[in-house]
Symmetry: C2
Subunit: 378 residues, 2 copies
């Protein structure tokens, strides 16, 4: 019988002057598996459990690149918390360890159903927008009453936005309790649709205490809502996985708190954090910051995320990339694949009139897109 | 009526040469509340929702310290995911932002029950150990069959360890499925207790898919287990909160993945990450790395965590500090308050005989502790 394929991991290690990449990677493979000193590891355990160094090279004075193969045994079956533990559990408490990339064996991936609707499912809701990226807006701001939030949602819908999501900080605060604001926004968007003939979808934020998650979903469903948003790193990655598998609506993942785990010299590479892990958790769409906005990711990071959301990953469906993070209204949006979405958030609210500003955004995106072009070019 | 007390946050900001602490803190208070540009913030919203700068000082060329008061409205009521979002949500995607400390209003804290058993509850299980810190061991290693794990658990129990926890990487892998290994370890420890007259407690690791959490707890309860372990950052912080409130057993929090959010120049200070947030989530005991082990925390960090676990925090009970992280067998343990615990993990397994090595550890701790001493001194 053939050996099962290993989980192959690429690490980038920043070493101190007195350190050496070989020692560090040895410490890592023990830490992430048997968690006992090398002297206590039997040959049998070494062979069956501990990761095996596949290659290592020194990139410069301090930087090393190491590739390690781990047996599937380590991660167990369909256990996302243990997967995360193996990926960056105790080594999160080290320094200068970046997990760059993982090659996932089919047997590991097939335990996770992945996105249930995915990019194609969300896209299919907007047949008239097939020639361009979807246009996403945000209902703001925390502190406003439901009527004001609803009026703004209505304005974005009348302007022709495809998806209108809650600001992720809108939870269940007293200024706009969950049920009243979600009801009001859904109604405002439905009313706009009935006037314009549009198909704008409202995406309420369901992030909040896990005890109330089902009730919030039920309320959304009772309003015929087809897409919802959660922030997996606030709600819990594994709660998100279960939710995506069972909610019956499409789920958009918000990046709040994710930056904690994705530093340039220590953490998970953006392609893992916003790409692989989100698809494994089953997010149908993933919001992530584009370079040049107000967040720390650069263009290489953003392109890497785009790729990981659409490249083959076992049998898991691609997720829709939603590019946000402070895209300025007055600057050209980045070059993106057609099958993506552009999020225009706060900047719209600085305009004298929200609806006119939103119309201008839609017109600009439309102008730049011909059905004959394979890419959305600026 | 008096204004409700604000949430007061201390930030440490690392600025680039062209940046200024004033601009940065302004961006942060908008990002973490209304998420719209300053130009779009009405005076009313500014007053009711946006954080207010209390003080700011330049610490050196690049470093600033800023203190901000946020209205309670922002975090909502008893909503831990939103609390985390407000604490380090979108700003996790910035660079050089460290949340150093929070002053929590009583109204915010009282929505969380906190540790149900806490330090005192766990301590009360070990009346014969009142003169010294508790001694904690770990069942290792991943890859071994249940019989081997159980034999080791028994050895640590016979040596007189108080608490014996699973290695946090022991999940439900095929080498030792959850139910068989937990049953075997519980039996081995019970059998050791019946021989020695001891009261050693077994602490199984319940981290794993959220769907199975209740079933794993049920199994533990059926074995009369009184303490369990979860890794909140793997399982989900809010799932942990709900679990602690309802499980009916004491819960020990493991630090796996926490390091992702706790970097020295960006993230949450150790006192928040391993202290305040763990008590708010309801962890009865918290494992964290001591300085000088194999993890990145220094002595100041470790002492800060100790403090935050026992200092007043509203009405929340103190959590038992469990100091681990590669404490060497052959080195003196750190000076700790009596009401703490020492975790001896992997190093014991490098000894020729686990039970003798464990006995030596117990003897050394006992030797250093007289009932008359207020502190465990080395």
């Amino acid at each position: 019988m053939a050996e099962p394929e290993p989980l192959r991991v690429v690490y980038r290690l920043s070493c101190r002057p007195e350190e050496d990449g070989f020692e560090r990677i040895r410490a890592i493979v023990l830490e992430q598996t048997v968690e006992i000193p090398a002297a206590a590891v039997s040959l049998d355990l070494e062979r069956r459990v501990v990761g095996t160094l596949h290659s290592i090279e020194r990139l410069d004075k301090r930087l090393w690149r190491a590739v390690v193969d781990y047996p599937q045994l380590v991660v167990g079956l369909g256990d996302l918390p243990q997967l995360l533990n193996w990926l960056f559990g105790n080594i999160s408490l080290y320094d200068g360890v970046r997990v760059e990339q993982v090659e996932w064996p089919a047997e590991v991936l097939e335990r996770f159903p992945g996105p249930r609707f995915g990019r194609a499912g969300i896209r299919s809701l907007f047949p008239a927008a097939a020639h361009r990226p979807l246009i996403v807006g945000a209902v703001k701001a925390l502190g406003e009453p439901p009527a004001v939030l609803a009026e703004r949602a209505g304005a974005l819908a009348r302007a022709g936005f495809d998806l209108i999501k809650d600001d992720h900080g809108l939870a269940d605060q007293s200024s706009a309790p969950f049920s009243s604001r979600v009801g009001a926004c859904a109604e405002a968007i439905a009313s706009a649709n009935s006037k314009t003939g549009g198909v704008t979808r409202y995406v309420p934020n369901l992030t909040g205490p896990v005890d109330g998650l089902e009730a919030r979903l039920e309320l959304a469903r009772s309003l015929d809502i087809e897409l919802v948003m959660v922030a997996p790193w606030l709600l819990g990655l594994d709660v998100t996985r279960r939710f995506c598998a069972t909610a019956g609506v499409a789920v958009i993942a918000h990046p709040s708190f994710a930056g904690a785990a994705g530093r340039a010299d220590h953490g998970l590479a953006p392609g893992l954090l916003f790409g692989d892990l989100m698809r494994i958790a089953g997010a149908d769409a993933v919001i992530f910051p584009w370079a040049g906005g107000r967040f720390v990711l650069d263009e290489t990071n953003s392109r890497e995320i785009l790729e990981r959301l659409e490249q083959p990953l076992g049998e898991l469906a691609p997720s829709l990339p939603i590019v946000g993070g402070g895209l300025p209204v007055d600057r050209e949006p980045p070059e993106l694949p057609l099958d993506s979405a552009l999020l225009f958030g706060g900047f719209l609210y600085a305009a004298p009139d929200l609806e006119s500003a939103a119309r201008a955004v839609v017109a600009r995106v439309e102008r730049r897109c011909g059905a004959s072009e394979p890419k959305f070019r600026v």
